[in-house]
Symmetry: C3
Amino acid sequence: MEFSAKKIAEYLNGSVEGNKNTKVSNVSSINDATPGSLTFLANPAYAQFLYTTKASIVLINKDFKIEKPVNCTLIRVDDAYNSLAKILELYNKYLPEKKGVSKLAYISKSAKIGKNTYIGEFAYVGENTIIGDNVKIHPQSYIDYNVKIGDNTKIYPGTKIFDRSVIGKDCIIHAGAVIGSDGFGFAREADKNFKKIAQIGNVVIEDNVEIGANTTIDRATFGSTIIKKGTKLDNLIMIAHNVVIDKNTVIAAQSGISGSSKVGKNCMIGGQVGISGHLNIEDNVKIAAQAGIGSNIKKDKTIMGSPAIDASNYKKSYVHFKNFQRIINKIEELESEINTLKKKKKK
Amino acid sequence: MEFSAKKIAEYLNGSVEGNKNTKVSNVSSINDATPGSLTFLANPAYAQFLYTTKASIVLINKDFKIEKPVNCTLIRVDDAYNSLAKILELYNKYLPEKKGVSKLAYISKSAKIGKNTYIGEFAYVGENTIIGDNVKIHPQSYIDYNVKIGDNTKIYPGTKIFDRSVIGKDCIIHAGAVIGSDGFGFAREADKNFKKIAQIGNVVIEDNVEIGANTTIDRATFGSTIIKKGTKLDNLIMIAHNVVIDKNTVIAAQSGISGSSKVGKNCMIGGQVGISGHLNIEDNVKIAAQAGIGSNIKKDKTIMGSPAIDASNYKKSYVHFKNFQRIINKIEELESEINTLKKKKKK
Amino acid sequence: MEFSAKKIAEYLNGSVEGNKNTKVSNVSSINDATPGSLTFLANPAYAQFLYTTKASIVLINKDFKIEKPVNCTLIRVDDAYNSLAKILELYNKYLPEKKGVSKLAYISKSAKIGKNTYIGEFAYVGENTIIGDNVKIHPQSYIDYNVKIGDNTKIYPGTKIFDRSVIGKDCIIHAGAVIGSDGFGFAREADKNFKKIAQIGNVVIEDNVEIGANTTIDRATFGSTIIKKGTKLDNLIMIAHNVVIDKNTVIAAQSGISGSSKVGKNCMIGGQVGISGHLNIEDNVKIAAQAGIGSNIKKDKTIMGSPAIDASNYKKSYVHFKNFQRIINKIEELESEINTLKKKKKK
């Protein structure tokens, strides 16, 4: 795939400064670009690289002032970062698209398969499952019985989606994700053995949700574990039984949410965060990476630490923690001064 | 599946208060139940919902005193929570059961397959492997050569069980779990390169163990990594080479145990806990979520923090950590008072 | 497989003390060895077990002085631990080797497959993919289109390797690993919805790299996520888009590295470590388990804590944290002494 500066500028409603026929076939970052690649300048901290970059084309904001001669063709746009995102999307569309239903897939006779679907080799689609239009079920995926998958959803290889799960439209489920495994529920008996509590609920994933690679979402004990519209989960996340995550929340990799907790809308949760069970995290909460949440969190809070507290409070306390030896020295000094004062007294 | 109050009461040895013919086809929680569903009241904190619930049937303890009229049919039982668990189990039994050996599975001729087994599509069973009776090997599972799997064990889709693993009876291995991958063992050489230490041991999982989705259990360098009877591991857990976990221990999601550590009986380990290598965690130890264990732990201890210490000590210290700024202010006050005292002295 | 002391000594350039015809078929640790097994004594702390072990053969350092009679055959070697590693490697070579291309695999006609490869049942190899010589692609693996895999590399069952990934020679990719899933990149729009940033880059893994079970490595947004020569990653690790990890670094299980961070050569990173995005961790850095890294780290540093600081500093501060109640008591004492001094003053 090769694009000229002229064509790219047209696509982005931008204007070319330099050779309109310059061609690129690749996207790079401005500091390690090679000839034949397109790059962008959005962060002023990288402005220095504009004058030395080997990229052939640079996307640049309309109002950016050039201070030295440049070796590349520039395309002036309203917002260089957004324009880059559009170019990435365009590039993606030119990648080969997978189509058709493989003869090497297993599809139950009672399953209903929409139009224009892709079902790859060694994929399994169970009884009475309903697959929407334009759905892509990549090789070696497992879709159990009575599952519903909405239009345009992509299921990457090796994903497992268990019985009675409901997946919305325009979702992306990455490789190796497990949706609908049993919740972790046991009752300890008098003899110390654990008796399994049957897990008869399901998982509901609404439209436009993205689930990361090897992430696991357990089915509800009864009722549903729910991930609402537009929420994005990164890789290796654990969502326990009966958790509900509201709309447009993002959760970074390796975080875990314990049974029956609720997470609000528009929350931003860092990586490796742990949230205990039966909690309520309200809307717009921000949680720093590695935090441990053991109590309800009110809306709009930013929290940090394990157990997590208000982030600015945590940071202050942590500064003192780092200086703990000096604080101890100070206390010892004070003690010795008091002793001196006491001795003087006696004299 | 629809059940009447009469039938449910008979099954639970309970007694009906209200319409014996009320039917339910679903289980819900008391606060968001819909008509046609059964619920339960075990936790007194939820008692208020009894008078407003839309559930058709509520399981309730024999001795519970009703204070207002209710709209639903009640079933009085000895223990409402236990009775609910029984209902969930009953419901589970009515779900469609998978049976038979698929023609699309690969089964080595030298493998021995027990009676009444299910082997799903695209599953792989290697040479000389022995599968017990009533075992369910779901689609796309991988069972290597010389593996033994005991009666009634369930292996969910996409599980990988490597050569010479031994899995007991009545176990459940959830989707995507990896059992018997190589231990992480290397020797650093003079040129800074790492040389792999061959990992020739295996994994032994005793009876009635549950292993969560995408959990990984490495084979021993030599000898066995062992998970003993009745122990339950949640999702995304890492068990390293030569670890031994004793009976009836539960470990929550995303915890990791490093090489050669031993964990005792009846331990309760929270989520995202890390245990260093070559340690001994004795029986009945409780470890709070996100704790980091760097030394041996005596039996019956409850620990918290990273590095973990006695939990009540940790909590006390953490209260002071949260108040660190105030403590610093206090120290500065004392310092200024001492300075005042010293000045007065001089006068 | 049974080996005599004579044969083992020859293989290791060692000398036998005792019966040269003693045979072993197994490897055990010295304290729980059974007859018929070989063990080793490298750590002096285990020397006591030499006189009671039930092992038939013990590998022992040339200069080790025996203080009591032993019941086993000894083999004297230059370095008992290295010799054991050689024996494990030898044992490994005798295990059955998998060969041939299964008729139950799907291999695109445009893929180029090297000599002496193994491609197992239900494996998928996409268009234009190039597989080197002696490569082993175990059952149910997924190798997408335009992938390159170097000679002698082993791909364990259920691994997924996405389009345009480049994997070097002599690599080992363990079961369930996902290489080349989309990076986690979104732009928040005015209406609070997230718009996906297309991820068009790839993953490059150089020679002699080992990737643990269920570990995920995301493709770059553009350009490459890179794991360099000789680096070893344990299980359940998350490597985000555009991360670069230099040569011969080891990372223990469940650690995560956020987008665009760079990790230097010869680093040692413990388990459950989190590294934020866009950071630079220089060569030879050591990071303690569970540390959280939020800033650049200079070479040769050893760090600990979350946020991580110099390890010796962290340890000192943590000692005081554990004693926080006593420190508070001391401050209160000082306060009361100052009050006493002030009162005396007034008199």
